[in-house]
Amino acid sequence: MSDRLEADSSTNPEAHLEEPTHLVAAAPPGASAMRMRAAVLAEFWHYFSQNRGAVAGLVVFLLLVLTALMAPVLAPHSPTQQFRDALLAPPVWVEGGSWKFILGSDPLGRDILSRLIYGARFSLFIGVVVVAIAVTGGILIGLAAGYFGGAVDVFAMRVMDIILAFPSLLLALVLVAVLGPGLGNAMIAIALVLQPHFARLTRAAVMSELRREYVVSARVVGASHLRLMFVTILPNCLAPLIVQGTLSFSTAILDAAALGFLGMGAQPPTPEWGTMLAEAREFILRAWWVVTFPGLAILVTVLAINLMGDGLRDALDPKLKRS
């Protein structure tokens, strides 16, 4: 092994032919990590902002979050206060409307605008809790199924198939009927119904990552099963899960509204949008505003979140990236 090849620079770090010059500039380690993160964010924003709809969705979503946070400041009235002298008051721009009830009032004389503003809190809360439960459960099941394979995989996936075989709202209804009506139980039911999507997505991602050599390398170095699953593999599977999480967020809001409408979700007088729709059902012909505005609120929220999810997919999925 004494003979040397000619292109020798291995002992001399200055002479690397292969070193990309723009990366050589020395920087303190902390700063380079910061810059690195900023660069990743900038790249993400570049791809995200290519999609106009996604940006619009993000703006609407941020407004919604702000509304939910500032509800006590923004709402003109308490969401449960009943103005007995103004039952079914029309919105301000309709004849007979007043600035007191900008979007009108409901059959019990409660201000619809205030209820919608407070309702944003419930919708976002439902979205966050449902997605958190579904993602956690789905990741645990999917990781175990994809990583261990064999009987664990078959068992877990067949159970997921069974859940997926039911129409989702029907299954959620059955679960709520068993658990008892209420917002908490409705959220648990919706999370259970949404969870198989996450389990399947995680499993597929884990199976494709498992074959990569860095996983074998980590094993050779002595990583335990748990470390391999959660530290080595999971961070590389997150992109599709984030996208699915966003899209499920809107499904959760929609399903919760549907359960509320059917009387199985949030119970009156909770100002939840679906429940508001249900309470106003009989007044559709007499007072269109009591059903229109909660319905519009649901529509706009779900649309905004879906658009945002599309943009996220564009930005996070390497297969869709244009260079």
Binding site: D8, E19, E213, Y214, V220, V221
Partner: protein
């Protein structure tokens, strides 16, 4: 002196075509491999795709268990099918893979990639791990400034240096190199091979070098083992085998190597002009 590596009649079978109704078919990837390798030497395993050389490399690196036969490292028998690999055993053998784009975790910083082996196998403190990783970066020709970067910020050659550095973090005595330069271009290949040669001198490493590239083998190997369909057809010192290949398959393999030196290109052109 006990050899660094010894295998006795190692076999490995794979079940293929085992469908729900179909009959099971068994492929014998390795059909009884015997080899001994002295400390500090380099054994090159050559052969065509699918001849079992990577399977053997994975068995030696304790990734997969052999179906039958014995694996001895430093004279100690190892059976990963029965016992978990201990930290001590793991510290003796490490592996470098072919594709430096796939063998580094894209979500881990170089520093974390290098310190992970120490974290999992030694009681070293965080500061100590960091110092050793920094030192190792310099040994493989990178700089401490690379410590906080992610793998995608490096070229193929640099990534392979990182992979080599990770393999050396536990001070192994035996390093399995599974086609470590086949994914790199020629000038970088030379740099990595020289780096490997330097590291072998410095740490007294024993190499098992899997390759299909005979010009690389000629440069780095002390012994050459030619494999064909799971069997060893020839196993002799490098100079002997290159000067006078005995087995038919070895001759075919050597003849199939394209020659790119000036003399042979001239000879080929002259032959073409004449014909």
């Amino acid at each position: 002196m006990t050899p660094a590596l010894e295998t006795r009649a190692v076999t490995r079978d794979y079940d293929v075509g085992a469908t729900f109704f179909g009959k099971r078919r068994v492929v014998h990837a390795l059909k009884g491999i015997d080899l001994t390798l002295e400390r500090g030497k380099t054994l090159a395993i050559v052969g065509e795709s699918g001849c079992g050389k990577s399977t053997l490399a994975r068995i030696i690196a304790m990734i997969d268990p052999p179906t039958s036969g014995e694996l001895l490292i430093d004279g100690e028998p190892i059976d990963i099918a029965k016992h978990r690999v201990t930290s001590d055993q793991r510290r003796k053998v490490q592996i470098v893979f072919q594709n430096p784009y796939g063998s580094l975790n894209p979500r881990q910083k170089v520093g974390d990639i290098l310190t992970e082996p120490l974290l999992l196998n030694t009681p070293a403190s965080a500061a100590e791990r960091r110092d050793r990783a920094m030192g190792m970066l310099q040994k493989v020709g990178l700089t401490p400034a690379h410590y906080n970067r992610y793998p995608h910020m490096f070229s193929g050659g640099q990534r392979q240096r990182i992979a080599i550095a990770r393999a050396l973090m536990l001070n192994p005595s035996l390093l399995v190199l599974d086609e470590p330069v086949s994914a790199l271009d020629l000038s970088v290949q030379a740099q990595i091979l020289n780096l490997l040669a330097d590291l072998q001198d410095e740490f007294g490493l024993t190499y098992v070098f899997v390759s299909h590239d005979l010009s690389v083998v000629r440069y780095i190997a002390d012994e050459v083992m030619v494999m064909y369909f799971g069997e060893v057809v020839e196993h002799r010192p490098r100079d002997a085998i290159f000067a006078d290949p005995q087995h038919d398959y070895t001759k075919v393999l050597f003849a199939a190597t394209p020659r790119a030196d000036v003399a042979s290109i001239r000879a080929r052109l002259e032959a073409k002009a004449a014909g």
